[in-house]
Symmetry: none
Subunit: 197 residues, 4 copies
DNA sequence: CATGAATGAGTCTTCATTCAT
DNA sequence: AATGAATGAAGACTCATTCAT
């Protein structure tokens, strides 16, 4: 009776749950997304759910960590590029591309409902930190290169850039006519206006 | 036959509950803010809470409606002013002033957790509508006066202005170092950059 | 400061509450009839209610005791009559007459929901006892006079007579077409058939 | 993939809850029978209760429907019999047999406390209807055969027969000395006297 | 005397989580 | 590994009752 643990199968199933949870969190909010609802969406039994995740909060953590990892990779890939301003522009593009998945905005909203949980607050802070740490050196370099304004510290400029992309997501969540596809160009323009020397 | 109606006392008590609820919602999120917690904060018994509000959701609605009413009044007071660009600028100032209460940002986050409730979704939509309907004519007038750019429709420019103020609140909620006091001037500057022809 | 306690006014008000309570109990059942509902029906404040009755159960007790007292008086008035069978017949007539108030049947149902309360169980038992003690001697006398069957003890015959009048009330409560007016004659006939030697 | 559905086990457990609820309703009335009390009686956790019944009212409905189904079956089995009067007599016997479970009378009382709930009112009306619809044709046939009196319409005679069996239950509930065993014969006799031409 | 605002004990119900199969 | 029946802690809300005015 050779148990074929098949890690690929395991990972696939896990991802299926993560995806179902993302859908449910986005649609119903964190508390509204009962584990039962997630299991229904993932077409699994509740037992299976807790076989893959010890806690409901852990799926949310997994989603957050997935995002954080992607961000980390994106900046890792950017390492070595020469044009700092271009990296910042590409970051905006990436934010627009991400916002095309309509669940993202809803999910971001859902997360804020659980900031009471310290693990989730930590994961969110980590996500912020990775993004900020990724952006900050490029912002500084762009300043050095005279590509962006220098009347504000790189730290604050970075915050404002993040304000822009976060606000972009928020608008998508609350205004049906406001879509990533239609407003992406304006986001690029506004970021340009924000950063312009 | 001494009627103890005293509407002033009633209103004061009601406001006390609203205030306690705002505090709790901001700190704990909607679901985290149990009615018990709100009652503790307001220093009342649970019975009293439900004497003033039929439902937990109704306090939240009351808070939202208070905000909507304030917005309505603000625009009512603005009616008749001549300089449209100045009205828009004052709106930004108002947003900054409002964001000085650190609970506001947390509250805004908490609300999004309950969008499943149709009454709350409606109240939030109404809040948006009142703000948008208040801003839109001024934006249009400012365009006519050549005070703001005309390459984007007034509707979209308004959305972007709202994106900015919402994002401002969001940043305050998630970044301790980002305060209304310190960043208010930058908000004014960025709005200026957004709108500049 | 001569306090005019005016006992008449007091009694009238008390009776108003009793009447409102009877209406509510009949319509809503004991638990369904909240003190708030009774106060609304009686057009008084909740404070006034508890000014007249220490407890919700006490109004119900008052209603029961009113009924018991009436029964007691009825039998007191019958004392000295000669024709036992006629007294029994008149008792049936009285039961029919009472059942004309459509609230009675509903009230009887409502009471059974509160038999858990020992005071109410006692009051109900007392009501039964008074009725039984009132009927029993007449039943015995009627047997002695050869007016009713003697194959069953007077005690059991009395129980069966009560079964008939209680069942009559129950039917009125559950079958809209079954009214005291329309079925009173049949009740008299069936009682006659029950008791016939 | 071992499915633990085992419908037999499920049905058994469900029945156990129904039985415990019947006991509690009979002893404590509907409102007095808290879900906690029922769970204690059934030796299950509160969660289990709501795993089987969405609502406390639903157990009561289940009990009622069980009774209605039994009645339906009884009349289905009687279909085709020749002697209508004998069917009516057997119905009386069935009523007596049913009344041997001392909880039945208490349960019947408890139900009347919840007639405010439209679902329960409907279920009770359906129960009545099934019984009446079952009895009526036999009563009519018995009249045609000259086995029962014809001075009252079959409908009214049926009501009176139901009055008798309901009153029988009521007496059992309120008079400890009045038992189904001891008074069953008298019920048969009184029914005979009621129906005799 | 009359009132109704305030109270909190007690209820039903939900839902994340465990565990035997 | 996968399942879903069982669990009980926790929460929203109701309502009889008290008491200051």
């Amino acid at each position: 009776m050779a148990r074929t643990v098949d890690p690929a199968r395991h990972a696939a199933r896990r991802l299926g749950i993560v995806d179902a949870a993302l859908t449910c969190f986005a649609r119903l909010g964190y508390d509204g997304a009962t584990t039962a609802a997630i299991c229904r969406e993932a077409a699994i039994g509740s037992g299976t759910f807790f076989h893959y995740f010890p806690t409901k909060a852990d799926v949310l953590l997994a989603i957050l960590e997935l995002g954080t990892a992607e961000t980390r990779e994106w900046f890792a890939a950017a390492a070595g590029r020469a044009d700092a301003r271009a990296v910042l522009a590409d970051h905006i593009d990436r934010a627009v591309a991400e916002a095309v998945d309509p669940r993202i905005a809803g999910f971001v909203r859902a997360v804020s409902a659980v900031l009471g949980d310290p693990r989730i607050a930590a994961a969110l802070a980590e996500d912020e930190r990775v993004l900020r740490d990724g952006l900050l050196p490029w912002m500084a370099r762009a300043q050095d290169a005279g590509q962006v304004r220098t009347d504000l510290l790189a730290e604050r400029l970075t915050s404002w850039l993040m304000l822009l992309t976060d606000g972009f997501l928020g608008r998508i969540a609350s205004e049906p006519a406001f879509t990533a596809a239609a407003e992406g160009d304006t986001l690029r323009d506004v970021a340009q206006r924000l950063l312009a020397p």
